[in-house]
């Protein structure tokens, strides 16, 4: 199984080749190289997943395989960073998700990015991203994860800033990087804390169920909480940054300045769920050692989910709507993990979270790629420039509708099954939570169909060119992903992924299923009334709840708060005063020293008149004095 390392190395090689030779190659050649290499990676990943899922069970429980591991950097005898490949159910599942979506995006971009300046650069960055994302999910230890965590951050930065002449894109890329970097600081400190007390980075050891390694940490407290709780909470901060949890979500909507396929790959399907994956990866640690942190994850997830859903209802840029819907759906996954127990049917939440991650990746990628096709056709992101597109873009229309139904949770599409499991888990955790999540599910249905109707129905807007369907390279991925979205719900997901590795039989709870479908249908119905034809209800509602609407439209002014903190406090307050202090006080002191020395020398130099007669006079006076002294004493 050593060949599994190729899954990471192949995209990296592609990155290096395209990065060094890209300028010399023809644009389409580099696109083809990138896509082909991704296709090969996909095949290897599928094969790996197949071999793993068919062969890794011992007594009905999936084992962890480490087919490849080398020491990369050694800190102490116990702490060393290894680079390797860890196969277990979730990493094998993530392999499939990442390579599938990535391959789709590679193919799609051949059409979408055609003729763009920097085509080869784009493919190089895509390869870099794929490499780092795959490295992240295959990490055998938490430090390897951190390494690739940073690398996905950088690839995201590079891709958001792909249109580097656009000021918004530069600002967005900078914001994305710095916000996630700030979160990564938490992650790093969390790793330091955890490794200090457990003396290991290895996931195998951390999640082995051997609780003795945590005994030293459990007894130590810092500011009233156990250090272990601090460690896991800080690690979660890292995850929250990448997964855009409140209040670190602000970078994700802006990240939509990047090319649309990038948004589909990075900011919808793969990188943003890294936080969820991180929590899932360390789930036994969270569950057994620091359950209070895990509950905190659930509450934060629920809040973020609601918060983002409300904002999504009033945004007018279609990519922003999708971005907020992504935040909201990731909130769902976090809730699922947060409310989950361990083992057997207690582990519903864990399984459901992973299942939702899987289905969401597919249908959200589909939504974004669909949005890309729409933007490609009308050259605008604004809803007001769209409307009535269902005739001109039939394939996009159908696939987009499928994805909307899936995210709204209508059977038999995949989203229904995974969301239903999440709701079941939350209901069994706390009914109130269950109802809140159901309400958010209803909101989801509403805003998605608001989007759908505004794009494809309603009155057509004026266009310079008649919108037309995208080329085959773009529609093929749409169709494939739509097909996956239709059937993915029927995968016996619990057979592959569960909290303890044993079989988990999914069975639908009728009451929960019916409730959620009914709520979703209500949401869709309301959207239909409001937006299918031009209606005055939304405007009137807007008038009535003017304050709320405005606040939501401005994303509850969180960005302004950040701007205030960064611009006014850090930049102008701290930084400016430190720079001033340095130039005037510290350097001033040094210059002052020089100044005083200089003045002193000027004062003294008067004595050095150069007049020998004066010297002689002083000399004689001195001589006289000494003579007298000698005579007297």
């Amino acid at each position: 199984m050593e060949y599994t390392i190729l899954i990471v190395l192949l995209p990296m090689l592609t990155f290096i080749v395209l990065g060094l030779l890209g300028m010399k190659l023809k644009a389409c050649t580099s696109g083809l190289i990138g896509t082909l290499s991704m296709a090969v990676t996909t095949v290897i990943s599928y094969a790996t997943a197949w071999i793993y899922f068919t062969g890794a069970r011992v007594d009905g429980v999936y084992q962890k395989w480490v087919p490849f591991n080398i020491e990369w950097l050694r800190f102490t005898d116990t702490l060393h960073i290894d680079l390797g490949v860890l196969l277990d159910p979730i990493s094998a599942m993530m392999l499939i998700v990442i390579t599938t979506v990535s391959l789709m995006v590679h193919i799609y971009s051949l059409g979408y990015m055609k003729g763009e300046r920097g085509f080869e650069r784009y493919y190089a960055f895509l390869s870099l991203f794929s490499c780092s994302m795959l490295g992240l999910v295959l990490a055998t230890n938490i430090f390897q994860m951190y390494i690739f965590w940073e690398l996905v951050g950088v690839s995201s930065y590079l891709l958001i800033g792909f249109y580097y002449t656009k000021p918004e894109a530069i600002a967005a890329s900078k914001k994305a990087f710095i916000v996630t970097r700030f979160a990564d600081l938490g992650f790093l400190i969390g790793i330091l804390l955890l490794s200090f007390f457990t003396q290991t980075f290895d996931f195998g050891v951390l999640t082995s169920g051997d609780r003795s390694i945590f005994t030293q940490a459990a007894g130590t407290t810092f500011m009233g909480c156990s250090v272990l709780a601090w460690a896991t909470a800080l690690i979660f901060v890292g995850g929250a940054g990448k997964s855009a949890m409140f209040p670190l979500h602000i970078w994700l909507p802006d990240a939509m300045e990047g090319p649309t396929p990038v948004s589909a790959l990075i900011h919808a399907a793969t990188m943003v769920v890294a936080g969820v994956y991180l929590v899932a990866r360390l789930f036994p640690v969270y569950y057994f050692e620091t359950p209070e942190v895990l509950h905190g994850v659930a509450y934060l997830g629920a809040f973020t989910s609601l918060f983002a859903a409300v904002i999504a209802c009033v945004q007018t840029d279609i990519k922003r709507v999708l971005a907020f819907s992504t935040i909201s759906q990731i909130g769902f996954m976090m809730v699922a993990l947060g409310v989950s127990g361990y083992g057997g049917h207690n582990g519903t939440g864990y399984m459901a979270g992973m299942f939702h991650l899987f289905t969401h990746a597919m249908f959200k990628a589909l939504l974004f790629l669909g949005a890309g096709a729409i933007i490609h056709a009308v050259h605008s992101n604004e809803m007001s420039h769209m409307g009535g597109l269902r005739k001109q873009l039939p394939i996009t229309h159908i696939t987009f509708l499928i994805a909307c139904l899936a995210i709204a949770g209508i059977p038999p599409f995949s989203g229904f099954f995974s969301k239903d499991e999440i709701l079941a888990a939350t209901f069994s955790f706390a009914p109130a939570m269950g109802w809140i999540m159901s309400f958010i599910a209803g909101l989801t249905a509403f805003y998605m169909f608001r989007l759908y109707y505004n794009i494809f129905w309603g009155t057509p807007a004026e266009h310079e060119h008649e919108p037309h369907e995208a080329p085959a390279s773009m529609t093929t991925p749409l169709i494939i992903l739509a097909a996956v979205t239709c059937v993915a719900g029927f995968i016996p997901f619990g057979k592959f992924v569960s909290s303890d590795g044993a079989d988990y039989i999914i069975h639908l709870e009728a009451s929960v299923a019916i409730t959620s479908v009914v709520i979703a249908l209500i949401g869709i119905a309301v959207a239909t009334v409001f937006y299918r034809k031009k209606s005055s209800i939304p405007d009137r509602l807007e008038q009535t709840f003017n304050g709320l609407h405005n606040a939501a439209k401005h994303r509850f002014y969180i960005d302004e708060v950040y701007l205030f903190i960064t611009k006014r406090i850090i930049f102008n307050g701290i930084s400016r005063s430190i720079a001033w202090f340095d130039r005037h006080v510290i350097d001033g002191a040094m210059n002052g020293l020089a100044f005083v020395t200089n003045k002193m020398s000027f004062a003294i130099r008067g004595l050095q008149s150069g007049q020998i007669q004066q010297y002689l006079l002083v000399f004689l006076a001195g001589l006289l004095l000494i003579t007298l002294l000698v005579l007297v004493c």
């Binding site: 800190f75 702490l79 430090f143 002449t165 700030f182 330091l192 930084s575 720079a579 340095d582």
Partner: protein, 497 residues
Amino acid sequence: MNFLSLFVLIPVLMTCAMFLLKDIRRIRAVMVTGASLLLVLAVTLTVMFLGQRSAGNDAEMLFTADVLWFAPLNIHYSVGVDGISVAMLLLSSIIVFTGVFASWKMSPLPREFFAWYSLLSIGVFGFFISTDLFTMFLFYEVALIPMYLLIGVWGTGRKEYSAMKLTLMLMGGSALLLVGILGIYFHSAPEGGQLSMNILEISKNTIPMNAQYLFFPLTFVGFGVLGAMFPFHTWSPDGHASAPTAVSMLHAGVLMKLGGYGCFRVAIYLMPEAANELSWIFLILTGISVVYGAFSAIKQTDLKYINAYSSVSHCGLVLFAILMLNQTAMTGAVLQMLSHGLMTALFFALIGMIYGRTHTRDIREMGGLMKIMPFLSVCFVIAGLASLGLPGLSGFVAEMTVFVGSFEHTDTFHRVFTIIACSSIVITAVYILRMVGKVFYGAVQNKDHLALTDAVWFERLSVIVLIVAIAGLGMAPLWVSDMIHESLAPIIEQLIK
């Protein structure tokens, strides 16, 4: 003749050759040959060193030689290397090599420039191979003095002021250092017997505690001034901003490392008890350096000032890690010296090349250079990413080793300071991305810049060598890290003793 002495001999010959040659082509030929020889020599040394070590030679210093030089004070010319010196020699030779190419079109007076440049290299190489305090100090001074002329004659901006400031502050530092060294010398044989300047011999004795209390701070601050320790760092922004490209590279890349290296080799190794007792004071100062330098860099508008303050922050991390007094953190410190040396040299080289074209270093007057000079811009972005600690480049390896090592300290005070130091990685990201965003991305600010050209071959060569070194260290750090790690064992033994 000892193999190591070649490191001094080659630059000496280069300096002498400068006085004989007139033709600029010949001068370049000599410089390139000499610098390449040094590079080859350093690589050979590394290979031989690793070979010796794996063959089981576990002497503290290898390739040693000793010649009595001045009997009354027992001064020897004694040389020898361990893993740390080997790493430093490798770094110096890379930077001297690339510096030659970065100053290819040096004018006016190229001959004199290269003569002083070679003299500077004599000092640098001599310092790293010396194991005798006196010769070490001698080479240290040889490395400092040419700086005054190099900045004062070939610099830009307020060069006379900067040259004076830099030289005076560093001389002030070396005055403290001289007192420290003499103090060590006169206490080197507490039980009587021959006083010694040899580091290895002194380390076998314990200097009396009251002497250590006095001379440890003197020595540490003396070297710390060169390592840009707060509040003695202000020579760095002005000095680096005024210095010509190659001199900035060599100064920030290698000379500032002399400070860190000296702290290890002299202050901590010879006075371990005082180090244990007093390290917390300096830890606070260096901790301030790390964060303070980073914050100051955010506000700067001159590219060289940004990089100089970033150097203050990064070099602060070197001293910070040294003061943690454990093997992992110290390994990190040496790695950080290597990494920062390469990175900052790359930065200064690129800034020099950009300045040579745009004639401004003010980031507000530039923009959109990515379109105009893609090669330089991409390299600059790579340097920036290395500086903010991207995995796969050297900065990450060094910083992580420092952080993990520092956090291994069992004392809460040290761990809290580690967390504060960690926060610099975020601030670094802020100023690096701000700089990159303003200068290279966006629309072209100045229409005159559209006519500028990208890098030419000698510039490319110099930049590529540095990038390869950065990426090499970042991708395969284990051998360097191991080499340094085991060489630190004697120092740690001293500290535990």
